[in-house]
Symmetry: C2
Subunit: 306 residues, 2 copies
């Protein structure tokens, strides 16, 4: 039996078309939001349109969001509806970006890219580096196999210490004071919640060894930016690569742009083309599950906020 | 039975000390070159000293060179002696650098490192990229396991088409005209010989697709630099990362320093500290083999030149 699915808003034509294609391919019947039982949100940058889109959508049961981290939508979350998001969908892309950033820091590629002459050889191995990953979700799951051939001892830090496949160890956040001094590479791959906001602050950075490297591919607000600026300037950590920043975008005059130990990338762990290629088959799968009454992928826990 | 081993020259004290330590640990007796049966060459930058060091060394049988590629020593090679080198020794370090450079090009990290403001998201996956590796030696052997979790289809091009563990396919160089148009990432990991000098020339670059990326971690003269400059400027390939250049060091005013599609690193695939850490246990092993009359590792084929 088919069901009635809306794709909205239509402010981003390429994404709207891709999502309509996914609904259609899954066998859903495309309708306006006011008639819809399911809604696929098709513009991550316009959560502000949500109230007007769902006004009068009395048959609505399920909303599929396009985000991995749903905080732009957090204030619209409503227990009346079942919410799913894109968590895990972009994880393979983000994990690859972690590898790129970690290797770039290890090999001083950010320094050499800025050089206009031959300079002294510096750099070190990623192999055997002790890696601590904050977050036990999809990014960690996809990152661990990429790290495996480098032989890095890995610890995943998560709320529960349920083991993560491929990690040498799983630990809860209360163990961070012991783990951080033994960390060569700290990867932030968490959902952003009230608990995890600012988790990388002056205290965390002080606990890391001076040679430690930081990679953040989660959300800018996991890192207290001013504390990181100070740590990099003082050399109390050796480098940071940030695909996300706070504020984001990072202002033109921000000191991180000229910090030699820092590499900033403009939230490119998944570029729009890359992301849509990953999201489209995922949404098709979830629409098919909705039609068939099977459990939906990537359900949002409104209480936890991810 | 112990044997008499010299370590020379002593122009690079840290390396000299490390090599003496290796000989000692293996049970060799350290002597001057004039008495020695074996000689460990302890300064890669001073092949010019070789004739005076071996003058009067009438008992010499074996010479251990510190290089992966022995071309700085090529004119001293002499069939009177058994030569070994460091081929394969640095391969794990170089393979890691290939991953760093390939991921950096894929994610535009060279571009972002040079940016002083937030810019548009560009970048693509290394995952699933079709990788062609020129050279079936230690670098390819170490690189293939690092690439494995990315799911890249791999072809190794070598003189003989003996399979390389972990490669999807092995091919001889005559197949390059078919392989290059199907290559997303071309990795140069060859020994430098008369046959391989200039193997990446205008013709090779033309055969690659416009989106192709080039990584050279072998020797600068594998690539015809002017042809590469032209291809990058014209956009007939999308990017190049060079850990080795021709000339090397690359002069300050060279156009590659300001080419947006290019990332130059100053021959850092193994930094001196990293390299010595790898070479020392290897030399210890080879000295032990020499003492015990077992086959030596990394023998140089004087005819082939590597």
């Amino acid at each position: 039996m088919s069901r009635l699915i809306a794709v909205a808003p239509d402010t981003r034509p390429e994404m709207h078309a891709a999502m309509c294609g996914a609904v259609d391919a899954a066998g859903g019947r495309l309708v306006d939001p006011q008639e819809a039982e399911g809604l696929v949100w098709a513009d991550p940058s316009r959560p502000d349109l949500f109230p007007s889109v769902v006004e009068g959508a009395d048959r609505l049961e399920w909303i599929q969001l396009p985000y991995a981290g749903i905080e732009p939508f957090a204030h619209h979350l409503d227990q009346r509806w079942t919410w799913t998001c894109g968590k895990g969908v972009y994880a393979p892309a983000v994990a690859e970006t972690v590898m790129a950033l970690a290797l770039a820091l290890s090999k001083n590629l950010h320094g050499y890219a800025r050089a206009d002459r031959w300079s002294k050889p510096v750099g070190r191995y990623l192999a055997d580096a002790r890696v601590t990953i904050l977050g036990g979700g999809g990014i960690a799951e996809c990152l661990l196999p990429l790290l495996a051939p480098f032989g890095c001892p890995t610890v995943v830090v998560r709320r529960h210490d349920r083991p993560v496949a491929g990690a040498d160890r799983t630990a809860t956040p209360d163990l961070l004071p012991e783990l951080l001094p033994e960390t060569d590479l700290l990867v932030v791959a968490l959902a952003l919640t009230a608990e995890t906001r600012g988790i990388v602050d002056a205290n965390t950075l002080d606990l890391l060894p001076d040679h430690a490297l930081l990679v953040n591919v989660a959300r800018g607000r996991h890192v207290v930016t001013d504390d990181l600026v100070a740590a990099l300037a003082a050399g109390t950590i050796a480098g940071a690569a940030l695909d996300v920043t706070d504020p984001e975008p990072l202002p033109d005059d921000h000191p991180l742009w000229s910090e030699p130990r820092c590499l900033v990338t403009p939230h490119v762990a998944n570029t729009p083309e890359m992301g849509l290629d990953l999201l489209t088959p995922f949404v098709e799968d979830n629409v098919r599950r909705f039609l068939e009454g099977r459990p939906l992928l990537a359900p949002v826990d409104i209480g936890l906020g991810y």
